[in-house]
């Protein structure tokens, strides 16, 4: 008897919370609003934990555990999409991450948003987001997942545009939504193809069907399987901000910081990776698609990292780092190391959320200032935040004991081992790792070391106006808002540590980002890679990836098999362990190099960066302006679209055709009327003439008929 976990409670609770806050929030006091929000999210987290605990593998409940609600949702002919919930190892991880990190961020935002306007609105949106994310994660078919997918897009739009009075925020929200929609378009096409070929969208039936290789052989060329995989990939790039459709994430920083933390670091952006991981069976049978995946992943990782280096806004740096880390995850999925990808996703959720919340706390501390050049020397003023940020920075850079070291290493080794162009990708990966640690430590040094210079002139004209305006605008709103409750004078003099309600989640996250990695310690370092085994049943290896598995990973049942294997193939193992060590060493070295450079440029000799930028003017500008991608898109798509719609649709069609027709009909009848009016001249003899002509005509016709 499979125990009924009624999983539907988990997403429903945040929905109820959102409804209550949304409908009655205006009349509630802030405390009550936050109480409601926290209560429902907390209970949902508890329920999820209980559900995961009861359904833990080996606890008698067969995974994947599917529960479908009784009432039908969409039934059309033989196609039906029920309200079904799907719990297996992958969704367990995701549920825990989403509810856990989500709850912590809720707690944090109680403090952070305390003195902002529209408090109840913020929390109802946040709860709404939780509802949609949980639906996405727990759905048992692509359609319900798509509902979550769109819902999450909506929530991100609402939250990015929270300060809707600011044009830039509204535009950013709009941009995020539109870019996501473009991605969703691809996802839809993919779903259509799946429906066409499988007749259903339910995961279990699709993946079981894919198992028998006879009916669905590996798709060598560009068959429909590859196409559908690519379409799913497009959806993922849209949602997880990969190369072509990443432009919305940096602008999404317009929203309040907890939003960026929750949505643009921990949960929403990972949806794409989750989707790829979830539909790994499809991708495994489409090698070309996989190639495309890891190409995009690698590109995104590298470029985002380079862009991150030149940013001066603290949140933008973190945004680009998110994009680059997501690039890593997609790269992992690309080389069929899905487990590694998910592992990195989990650890990333912890330290990236921590980084964002830390940055939020910093911004909160100095009264809303986001530009790093105006920060400095905050080490002593906000010590707790400093230590928490230090942990996060060292984690993301990839230093050994911390979480990211393990997950990133997993990915790099997976990449290294992958048969097609593994070594090149690995090289790029390591360079990106170096860059990542460089710009993180740059941020670290600029924010916490040196002296506090609130009035630093941001005179560098070449800075993108948007950024500048944003900072100023946000600053003012921040000032205004903080002015409201911050009694002691102008913001800069009153640098104060954030209240404990904000610091507690930071500390927890810091602990998690330290501990998080230990779950997946690789075999060579003594661990038995628990996360790997945990996810293995979900991620049965694709044919293409089997060699990689043998090279790097042993079979699921613990180290003894590994040892036998090692004896059986000594050299493979040898090669394997020695290369393993080498890889790990190189990645740590890259991280250290990044630290040293950052220390050198931003602590030791702060004037160096200006000299370097002066020398490599062109390159610096290029990077600063984010390779002119936004402008490119604008010119390539937006302007022609606008031109098309004004010239062709509006002027040509609407004005010319439709109005033309309508007015034309009017003027034609007027003209005809005018002509005929002359007939009624009152001149009797003209009437006579017409009568005669008529008579003649009738006679002629009759005769013609008669004679004929």
């Amino acid at each position: 008897m499979t125990k009924n976990l009624n999983l539907w409670v988990i997403p429903l609770l945040p929905l109820i919370g959102a409804a209550i806050n949304g409908l009655f929030g205006r009349r509630f006091k802030n405390a009550l609003v936050s109480a409601v929000a926290l209560l429902f999210t907390g209970v949902s987290f508890g329920w999820a934990a209980w559900a995961v605990w009861t359904a833990w593998p080996g606890s008698g409940i067969a995974l994947p555990h599917i529960e479908t609600l009784p009432f039908p949702w969409i039934v059309a002919g033989n196609f039906s999409a029920p309200f079904g919930f799907y719990l297996d190892q992958l969704s367990m991880v995701m549920v825990l991450v989403v509810t856990g990190v989500g709850f912590l961020i809720h707690v944090y935002s109680v403090g952070y948003m305390g003195h902002e306007g529209g408090y109840y609105r913020f929390f109802s949106y946040l709860n709404l987001f939780m509802f949609f994310m949980l639906t996405l994660v727990l759905a048992n078919n692509y359609l319900l997942m798509f509902v979550g997918w769109e819902g999450v897009g909506l929530a991100s739009y609402l939250l990015i545009g929270f300060y809707f009075l600011k044009d830039s925020a509204a535009n950013a929200g709009k941009k995020a939504f539109i870019v996501n929609r473009i991605g969703d378009f691809g996802f839809l096409i993919g779903m259509f193809l799946i429906v066409q070929h499988f007749g259903t969208l339910n995961y279990d039936s699709v993946f079981n069907a894919l198992k028998d290789a006879a009916q669905f052989p590996v798709d060598p060329g560009w068959g429909w399987l590859t196409i559908s995989a690519i379409c799913l990939l497009i959806g993922a790039t849209g949602k997880s901000a990969q190369v072509p459709l990443y432009v919305w994430l940096p602008d999404a920083m317009e929203g309040p910081t907890p939003v960026s933390a929750l949505i643009h670091a921990a949960t929403m952006v990972t949806a794409g990776v989750y989707m790829i991981a979830r539909s790994h069976a499809i991708f495994n049978l489409a090698p070309h698609a996989l190639e495309l995946v890891f190409v995009i992943g690698c590109l995104t990782a590298f470029f985002a990292a380079t862009m991150g280096v030149a940013q001066t806004d603290i949140k933008r740096v973190l945004a680009y780092s998110t994009v680059s880390q997501l690039g890593y995850m997609v790269l992992a999925c690309g080389v069929a190391a899905y487990a590694a990808g998910i592992f990195h996703l989990m650890t990333h959720a912890f330290f990236k959320a921590l980084l964002f919340l830390g940055a939020g706390s910093v911004i909160h501390a100095i009264g809303g200032e986001q530009d790093m050049r105006r920060m400095g020397g905050l080490r002593k003023k906000i010590p707790v935040t400093f230590w928490v940020m230090t942990v996060a920075t060292f984690t993301i850079a990839g230093f050994p004991p911390l979480a990211a070291f393990f997950s990133k290493d997993e990915i790099l080794s997976g990449v290294y081992a992958s048969p097609h162009a593994g070594h090149l990708l690995w090289a790029i990966g390591v360079i990106t790792a170096g860059l990542t640690s460089f710009y993180m430590f740059r941020l670290w040094f600029m924010t916490f070391f040196g002296e506090y210079k609130p009035e630093a002139d941001l005179g560098d004209a070449h800075l993108a106006p948007a950024g500048h305006a944003v900072a100023a605008a946000h600053g003012s709103s921040g000032h205004a808002a903080s002015q409201a409750d911050d009694d002691h004078g102008h913001g800069h003099s009153g640098v104060h540590e954030s209240p404990w309600i904000m610091l507690a989640p930071l500390v927890i996250l810091a602990a998690l980002s330290i501990v998080g990695g230990w779950v997946g310690i690789p075999r060579i370092l003594g661990g038995h890679n628990a996360i790997e085994h945990f996810l293995a049943p979900v991620m049965e290896p694709s044919p293409g990836a089997i060699q990689a598995q043998e090279l790097v990973k042993n079979v699921p049942n613990a180290t003894e098999i590994a040892h036998e294997y090692a004896e059986a193939h000594p050299n493979a193992a040898e090669v394997k362990t020695s290369t393993e060590w080498v890889l790990t060493g190189i990645s740590v070295a890259a991280a250290a190099l990044g630290l040293f450079l950052a220390w050198l440029l931003y602590y030791k000799r702060p004037e160096l960066p200006d000299r370097i930028t002066a020398k490599a003017r062109g390159l610096y500008l290029l990077v600063l302006h984010k390779y002119y991608v936004d402008e490119g898109y604008g010119a390539l798509f937006v302007k022609p679209l606008l031109a098309l719609s004004t010239v062709v649709l509006w002027r040509g069609m609407d004005q010319g055709l439709i109005d033309g027709l309508v007015n034309g009909a009017g003027s034609v009848s007027k003209g005809v009327g005018n002509e005929l009016r002359r007939m009624q001249s009152g001149n009797i003899r003209s009437y006579a003439a017409w009568v005669v002509v008529g008579g003649a005509a009738v006679v002629a016709i009759m005769i013609w008929l008669g004679v004929r």
Partner: protein
């Protein structure tokens, strides 16, 4: 032979009267020429054996309607027509129309002239009053009554229109 001579004579009188109707400037002259036309038509009817119709033609047309016309012309005494430039349409559309009409009819008559037989001076009491009367009051009784109603309405109309608004 006599029939043809008489027909041609009366026909010519008819046409002459009709042309005179057009040519004359003063309506009284054209009215009288119309009376001549009607009288000659009455005679042609006699040729065709239609005695009753001829008599009625004389009494009703020549004797009543034309008298009415002459009476109105005398009463109004409007003088002869002045040469106002008439509507061009009448000339450019009407005249060709009539020409076309006449042409068509003439063509038809010439075309089918052959098949139609001749018309003889009927000696028998063909068009006598009692034959026409029997037909009129038996087969065509309803139209007869309807025309009487028509006449009644015409009389009322004439009275109402003719009355001087006081």
């Amino acid at each position: 032979m006599v029939h043809q001579v008489l027909f041609i004579v009366f026909g010519l009188i008819c046409v002459a009267g009709a042309v005179n109707l057009l040519v004359q400037r003063h309506p009284i002259n054209s009215a009288l020429s119309l009376v001549v036309v009607m009288a000659s038509l009455a005679l042609i009817y006699l040729l065709l054996g239609a005695e009753f119709v001829a008599a009625i033609q004389v009494i009703v047309y020549a004797g009543a309607i034309m008298v009415l016309f002459v009476f109105v012309i005398m009463l109004l005494n409007a003088g002869s027509e002045e040469r106002t430039r008439g509507s061009r349409i009448a000339l450019f559309v009407g005249v060709p129309g009539v020409a076309a009409l006449a042409g068509i009819v003439a063509w038809l008559l010439v075309h089918s002239g052959g098949q139609l037989g001749g018309v003889t001076i009927s000696s028998s009491n063909f068009g006598e009053t009692h034959n026409v009367a029997r037909l009129l009051f038996r087969d065509f009784l309803l139209p007869f009554e309807v025309t009487s109603v028509l006449i009644l309405i015409a009389i009322m109309g004439a009275v109402v229109l003719g009355r001087r608004e006081n």
